[in-house]
């Protein structure tokens, strides 16, 4: 599976994703410059964390209108996978590829901490390697991660099982105390209707090696690869 990691001016998780994909997941990967529109050689495009264009407007607002994000429309339509983490999630929302918006954290401060995520939908290409009810441990690092969608959108999201991750306690309780940023209904990650675009605020690339404190982030990649790797060894179910 060939990965592309997008680099906007101000992106900083690009190298981390590149490292995990090439050194840990051991898949071919290249960087994609924000002005590029040619994604034909790629199976999965990663939008990493950072402060694209400084995020001096709204987080992801400028990047959401960039050439590479415009090109993602066609890429997604033909079934390509897109994984947006942190700033990448913000960009996908701003670019209209995912519903909802990410606002300033309720505490009005940046938050870098470990979080527990309840996997709510294990039938997406990104989560299909996981058992139902699994709780993942992944860190967050953001100042604008409070997910918001209007009630109508929220109803649709839930009806279509597009909510993939919710902030939870270590034993999987979705409660207010486990919500680090004030996201509506503890939502930490959503997919598009087609299921091939995932946005999440946590950082899977920071939870992909034992030395970094955990490997739950790898499950995303392993699920994804399981859908494409011919022998299907990554599929657990």
């Amino acid at each position: 599976m060939r990965f592309g990691v997008v680099v906007f001016p101000g992106t900083w998780s690009d190298c981390d994703f590149h490292y995990v994909i090439s050194e840990v997941v051991r898949q071919p990967v290249r960087y994609v410059w924000h002005r590029d529109r040619d994604l034909a050689d790629l199976d999965c495009v990663v939008l990493p964390g950072g402060f694209s264009y400084g995020d001096y407007l709204r987080a992801g607002a400028v990047a959401g209108k960039s050439p590479v994000v415009e090109a993602l429309g066609d890429f997604v339509a033909r079934g390509g996978f897109v994984l947006g983490s942190c700033n990448g999630f913000q960009i996908l929302c701003e670019g209209g590829l995912l519903p909802g918006a990410l606002m300033r954290n309720e505490c009005l401060q940046y938050r870098c901490q470990s979080t527990s995520l309840l996997v709510e939908n294990v039938d997406t290409p990104f989560t299909r390697g996981m058992p139902p009810g699994q709780v993942l441990t992944m860190p967050i690092s953001h100042g604008e991660g409070k997910y918001y969608a209007d009630p109508e959108t929220l109803r649709t999201l839930k009806a279509r099982r597009q909510v993939v991750f919710r902030y939870a306690t270590a034993d999987g309780q979705v409660v207010r105390a486990a919500n680090p940023n004030g996201s509506v209904e503890n939502i930490a990650g959503v997919v598009n209707e087609g299921g091939n675009v995932l946005g999440l605020m946590p950082h899977p690339e920071r939870a992909a090696e034992t030395a970094m404190g955990g490997t739950d982030g790898l499950l995303l990649f392993q699920s994804l690869l399981g859908t494409l790797v011919e022998d299907g060894t990554f599929l657990r179910r």
Binding site: G10, Y19, C112, R206, A211
Partner: protein
């Protein structure tokens, strides 16, 4: 424009911070009266901040050589060889004055400035540490400063994309009117790809790259070279404004431009901006520079040569390129949407020639600017010391309940958890951080190798205040000991020396003594000082800060998998105390937090014992023999045990018995150097004992981990407190002021 310039007089020179003697010296050096622009150049470059005129004679005492040293003081930053072809570039700098005037931008640009110093060397910044000192956090004014400084660091570092992995925050009333904001940055570079701030090759083009120049920060260096009075607020315009996004672009563009091979030398436009770069770079290389100011990218109109030269606008560099390869440099910066404008040439005449639309507005020998005056001002032992030394803390009553005293100490803001600050910092970007903030040292892996580095900062102002020489030596030892406890072999030191006005003999004595102490410790531990920064004039209305040399130490671990953290991991591990028994309550956190006193004498420091203890601790960690290692610092052994019990994922209690007949408070809370607590699995105890025997250090088993209480039997009396209670006190001690 020239017609509107003020007439150059001695009064004007004085107003710019120069003395009458210095003004005469300028006239002598030039053989004429300086122009207004030239006077501005001298005033900035001869400021204490740039010229180190009061400190240079003392700084010569610091050891600056070692076999693994690649770059010592005098460049943008220092560098040490960590093996496998890699070098670590690091430096610490202060941004105290700007942070007091405008805490958010002051701290933010403090981060920006030191980060640039690292990547001008060709290194990618991989870690930031902040050493902060404030007054009492119960004071709303101090809380405002803490909030501003922490959010400024968070904003700049997070957006730029370098993890903040460590540092310390301590509190004392002496910092209320003059907080300390010291930032250390660590970068990684191939050992043979280090760039230097040279202007070599006559005829080579000089490029201005990065942000545009505005009127911000003019005379920031001069501002940082004076004490504060009631009018400090009016100096707010001299604080620069940061743009971490542009800094990130500048980082990527500089590293990419360096890879082309077209870059000859590069320097950050920090203090004194363009004036500093255009004189220091040629001065280092025995060349000159001829620059045209009208080509400098400007974001305001009508700026005078004086303003353009002295602006401290952020995120700018001066770059000397190889002649004929200009387009390679331009292309890289264009890719990153940054200005890269050729503003002049390297010349051979040793002069800095500054033109504005062709007219020469300044023409000064670069040596005259770069070589500021040096003073050896008088020093005097402070009269206040004798009475402070005469005080015997053991004349105070013992605490009625030592357990309650321990809980109170753990809740003292200096000792309490700083998670409130650290969770606002990205600690992991780069995915190298193996040990997050909150242990003795931060540990970062070096990808592509088995190695890791350990980094720590330390500096106890109270100890240095009471005994500057021993206290400063202890600061070096403590920072190095923290690195050793994490498994690292200390390789180099950067120092940030924060003192009051050097024009007061007592302050200069503190400084001179502290330098001696640092030098003695560095020699004994065989670690060179690779660079740093002196910050004088940390005074407001005549009240100087505690003399605070902050020491940053970088060490290397041969095996990233063999590291230790401070927390107890599991019940049933044996606890050992390495190091001497000698401790004192003089200058201790206990004496301050529970009795409100700063007095007494420090415990003796034996540098040879210190060295052996560090080696033993490091060897034990590297051999995989210990499950936790923690330095005994503020609060003494009892607090070290309490921190180890509660700072892990889940509390693990302990049961410890201390032999001896000393007073309980001294045994529990007395502070002394060279002491380390480690835990060992029983199955490895004999191996550990053998290693300690080889190390020839004093050590003993003192107890065992386990249970949900912290129990310390000291003589007749017993501390017996629930670990949860200590955890609560420790977690909320600082945060309760901020939340």
């Amino acid at each position: 424009m020239a017609g509107a310039e003020p007439k150059v007089t001695l009064d004007l020179a004085r107003g710019l911070g120069l003395t009458a003697e210095e003004y005469d010296r300028i006239i002598q050096r030039l053989g004429r009266e300086p122009s207004y622009t030239e006077l501005g150049l001298f005033s900035a470059l001869w400021s204490e901040h740039c010229a180190y005129k009061h400190s240079r004679v003392f700084l010569k005492r610091l050891p600056t050589t070692a076999p693994h040293l690649i770059q010592g003081p005098g460049e943008n930053a220092g560098a040490v060889d960590i093996g496998d072809g890699w070098a670590i570039v690091f430096k610490m700098e202060s941004h105290n004055h700007p942070s007091f005037i405008e805490p958010f931008q002051g701290a933010a640009t403090g981060v920006g400035g030191i980060v640039r110093d690292i990547f001008t060397m060709g290194a990618r910044p991989i870690a930031i540490l902040d050493s902060l000192r404030f007054g009492d956090p119960a004071d709303p004014r101090t809380r405002h400063l803490i909030n501003g400084v922490v959010s400024g660091i968070s904003w700049y570092g997070n957006c730029f994309g370098c993890p903040t992995v460590g540092g310390e925050i301590a509190f004392a009333p002496e910092y209320a009117g003059n907080p300390l904001v010291n930032v250390m940055c660590v970068g990684l570079v191939r050992a043979d790809r280090i760039f230097r701030a040279r202007a070599e090759g006559v005829g080579n083009p000089v490029f201005y790259v990065g942000n545009k120049t505005g009127r911000d920060g003019i005379h920031g260096a001069t501002m940082a070279s004076a004490t504060f009075d009631e009018a400090a607020e009016a100096k707010r315009p001299t604080v620069q404004v940061g743009d971490p996004f542009t800094e990130k672009l500048l980082l990527e563009a500089c590293l990419e431009a360096m890879q082309t091979g077209a870059v000859v030398g590069i320097q950050d436009m920090g203090a004194a901006g363009l004036a500093c770069c255009t004189s220091e770079m040629p001065a280092r290389s025995g060349t000159g520079m001829d620059v045209e100011l009208s080509r400098v990218p400007q974001r305001e109109t009508g700026m005078t040569p004086y303003e353009i030269l002295l602006s401290e606008s952020q995120e700018r560099m001066l770059l000397v390129a190889a002649r004929g390869r200009e387009d390679e440099v331009r292309d890289v910066f264009a890719k990153w949407d940054l200005d890269a404008v050729e503003i002049g040439r390297v010349t051979k005449d040793g002069m800095l020639t500054v033109r504005q639309r062709g007219d020469v507005v300044a023409e000064v020998p670069v040596d005259a600017l770069a070589e500021g005056p040096r003073y050896e001002k008088p020093t005097a032992v402070p009269g206040w010391l004798a009475a402070l030394h005469a005080f015997d803390p053991l004349t105070l009553p013992e605490p009625a309940d030592p357990g309650e005293a321990l809980v109170a100490l753990c809740a003292s803001p200096t000792i309490a958890s700083k998670a409130w600050a650290f969770r606002q910092y990205d600690q992991q970007v780069g995915t190298n951080t193996l040990v997050l903030p909150g242990s003795d040292a931060a540990v970062l892996r070096i990808k592509g190798t088995r190695r890791a580095i350990a980094v720590s900062t330390d500096g106890n102002g109270r100890q240095v205040f009471l005994e500057p020489r021993a206290g400063a030596a202890m600061a070096v030892c403590e920072a190095a000991r923290n690195v050793a406890c994490s498994g690292g072999r200390p390789l180099g030191v950067t120092d940030c020396l924060n003192f009051g006005s050097p024009e007061r003999p007592e302050i200069l004595w503190q400084f001179a003594e502290a330098i001696e102490g640092i030098a003695e410790a560095c020699r004994a531990l065989e670690v060179p000082v690779v660079g740093g920064n002196v910050s004088f004039y940390n005074e407001t209305l005549g009240q100087a800060v505690l003399p605070t040399p902050v020491i940053g130490v970088v060490g290397v671990l041969a095996d990233a998998g063999r590291l230790a953290t401070q927390s107890f991991k599991a019940p049933g591990h044996r606890i050992a105390l390495l190091g001497p028994d000698a401790v004192s309550l003089g200058g201790s956190e206990y004496l301050w937090a529970l009795h409100g006193r700063l007095a007494g004498r420090l415990a003796p420091l034996d540098l040879q014992v210190e060295r052996r203890v560090q080696s033993a601790a490091q060897a034990a960690v590297a051999a995989g023999l210990v499950t936790a290692a923690h330095d005994c610092a503020e609060g003494g052994l009892a607090v070290a045990l309490a921190e180890a019990a509660v700072s892990g994922a889940a509390p693990v209690g302990c049961d410890v018995r201390l032999a001896g007949t000393a007073r309980t408070d001294l045994m529990l809370f007395g502070e002394g150097p060279s002491r380390v607590v480690v835990t060992v699995e029983p199955a490895r105890a004999r191996e550990f004992e053998a290693l300690m025997a080889e190390s020839a250090i004093p050590w003993r088993w003192i107890g065992v981990t386990g249970g949900d209480r912290v129990v310390i039997r000291a003589g007749e009396r017993v501390v017996d407190v629930a670990a949860d209670r200590i955890a609560h006190a420790w977690r909320s001690g600082f945060e309760r002021h901020m939340a």
